[in-house]
Symmetry: C2
Subunit: 302 residues, 2 copies
Amino acid sequence: MSDHFLALDWGTTNLRAWVADRDGKVRLRRDFPLGVAGLAPGEAAQRFAADVRPAMAAEQLPAVLCGMIGSTLGWQAVAYADCPASFAALQGALHRIDQPGAPVWIVPGVRTQRADGCGPDVMRGEETHIFGWAMSEASRQRGTHLICHPGTHAKWARLVDNRLENFVTAMTGELFALLRQHSALRVVEAIENEDAFELGLKASGDGGALASRLFTARSRVVGGDMPSDQVESYLSGLLIGAEVAATPALLGVAAPARVAIIGDLALCARYRRALTWHGFEADVFDGEAAVLAGLAALYRGV
Amino acid sequence: MSDHFLALDWGTTNLRAWVADRDGKVRLRRDFPLGVAGLAPGEAAQRFAADVRPAMAAEQLPAVLCGMIGSTLGWQAVAYADCPASFAALQGALHRIDQPGAPVWIVPGVRTQRADGCGPDVMRGEETHIFGWAMSEASRQRGTHLICHPGTHAKWARLVDNRLENFVTAMTGELFALLRQHSALRVVEAIENEDAFELGLKASGDGGALASRLFTARSRVVGGDMPSDQVESYLSGLLIGAEVAATPALLGVAAPARVAIIGDLALCARYRRALTWHGFEADVFDGEAAVLAGLAALYRGV
């Protein structure tokens, strides 16, 4: 197998691509505005061949793809692996598609039954970040870890002796976007404000009664308590605070547990602040390094 | 003063108008698509004179207006009355505007300090429904009542010996609209489904971790647990269930208290089901009758 490969984190809104070696060392990196949400049926394979591979000079390189590209909206629906899921199970469920030049493998998503009895929960892409993080943090692999992967649909996962035991989603990022774009709390002018973020954390309480607490972003402005340019930071603190206050309990975890936050570093910093506020210990890890480590590990196994 | 008057419930998205006598007996009723959200500055007064009054044959009738028409977006910003607020306080704070033919009175909104420490909360319009309900239910006026007024921004209020002691808002209706129109849970085809509504009630739990529970509306579909045409009913049950499970506690009330639900009868029926599920007793009252009773009582006092 080739020493280099094409690593793709192909999500709903964006495609991030690297040419890397088997250890994940990067030779080339590029983003494409080819999120799965914007693709017509059949378009993923065509864009991959016509746009992505040539732009990465990767016509002859094998490729490993994770994310929503493995959903019905993407290239091809790849069956979920079920929790508890080991890295070996993920490896064994890679979906191979033969392509001119070299093959493509799509990483399966993972499905679980939620511990709160509310049916299944699903992820596509975050499993690769999570296992990549575990691979890179060799000394810390064994034992139990609580992982938070913030984003549009944030994932909270329990990793036990390197197996993904269970996880749960919180659609905090999506609620934030909906509220700031379309709601009565619509943000016209925003200034990042640390104090407003902290006021939002305080208002998050125990994470309950969210539909009521959210309204305070409006009533504080209408009632003369807060300038409207602070609503965005306040909302961010309130939503993230409510998430970190209530979600770990769905996995049977409570403060003062230690949480590994994996993702965009600016967003991770906000989560760390919220976790600290709610009595957790938190460490931040770069999501890009994690997913690349996961894709490289999967490539080494094909 | 004239025996008949023009009663207007002039809200964000709609204007409901009646010509009624001093006891609230209706002679004429009409809705206008003139919600304040769609009005330009200064347009309210002009529409009132040019459209509403002529259509109601009310050029010579005094008028009493409640709702968002008293906000900065409406005809004129009318200062809030503060909690605890009596009917007499509301009456005394009516804002008079002299108009050709007969005067107009705008009912003030009410402001409170939230018991959860999250700053002020506000209402405009619901105070007239609430006092109107108390007026009509003469035998039940005294004592403590917990009132739920569902809607875009649902209001929960404690009425003690006919005074509005405190209240809190839950933006459940707005979250429902945002999620069904703009989110990953977007509803394409919906069939009203009682079982899905009840499944949503079950999934509401104690009202906590809402951002996580909401995602189950998607993961149940993607995970093969629920047909997509049931998402709307499920979401409705989940959001209303979470609201009734968590909001009364913000007013110091817990099940099995008795709740008076005032509003649109179909929506009230959903709230009654959710309240019963969570152990409350609930009675439903027509919101139109309530606001008309409130406006008539205010008219009798001018």
